[in-house]
Symmetry: C2
Subunit: 123 residues, 2 copies
Amino acid sequence: MERDTAQRRAIRRALDEAGRPLGALEVLERAQRDVPGLGLATVYRSIKALTERGEVSAVELPGQPPRFESAGKAHHHHFLCGKCGKLYELDGCLIGLKPVLPRGFRLKSHELLLHGECGTCAR
Amino acid sequence: MERDTAQRRAIRRALDEAGRPLGALEVLERAQRDVPGLGLATVYRSIKALTERGEVSAVELPGQPPRFESAGKAHHHHFLCGKCGKLYELDGCLIGLKPVLPRGFRLKSHELLLHGECGTCAR
DNA sequence: GTCGTTGCAAAGCGTTTGCAGCCTA
DNA sequence: TAGGCTGCAAACGCTTTGCAACGAC
C-alpha cells in the first residue's frame, strides 16, 4: 500500500462515507461511482492492505461474509438485528470486569456481538 | 432428522466426545472411525439438521470456517489463542451489566470472543 | 414398499492469485 | 524507467445441491 491511486482513494472514501460496515460488493458498488472500471479483486487487495495497516477493520458475522469499516473509531461493538439483518454500531464497551481466565492465559482483545431486534423491527 | 442412522450416530458421537468445537473436516475424520465410508456432504447435512434442532451450535471465528460443538452446555464463551489457533471454552459469562442499547432495541443474545495467548503459548 | 438418507460429483459462493499491461513516483 | 498496481479470468477452499442407489421403519 504505497502508491496513491484513484482506485484506493475511491475504496477508502466508500468506507469512510458509509457510516456502517460494508460488504465487499457494497464497497465495490460505491467505489465504482468514482472509478467505474474498478474490479472486485482490487477491492479485496486494497481492503487487505488497509486492514494490515490498521486503517480498516473487518467485522465477522456468524454465517455471513465479513463486512469492513474504517478503523480509528473508539472501541465499540455491534448489534445485529435478526429481522432486517442490519448491523449497528454501539458506543462504548460493556465489558468492565476482568474475566476469569484459566491460569496463565493472557487476554489481548475481545469481540462482542449482540443479537436481537432493532428499534424499527421490535414494534 | 427423523431416522436413526449409523452416520448420524457417529457424527453426534464425534461432537459429544470432542470436548471442544470441531471443524467440519475434524468431525468427518472422527466420525469415519465409526463409519469409514462417511462423506463430507453427510457431515454438513447432519450438522445443519442438528443445529436446527438445537442439539449442536456453530461457533464462528473471524476469518475461519465455523466449528461445531454439542449444545446443551451452560452459557459460555470462547477464547482463541492467536499463537496456536486453539479454541478454548470458558465457563460462565462475563457480561453482568445490562448494556446500553439505543432506544427500542431488544437484546436476545450475545456472543463474546476473547483473543490472546493460552497458558502454553504465553510463556 | 415408502420415502428419508447417503455418497458422489458437480455446482455455488466468496475470496485469492497468476499474469500481462498500466501508471505512479 | 522501475516496480507497484490493476483488471481479467482462472483457481481456490468451504459448503450446498442434484441424483440415483440405499436402508430405516
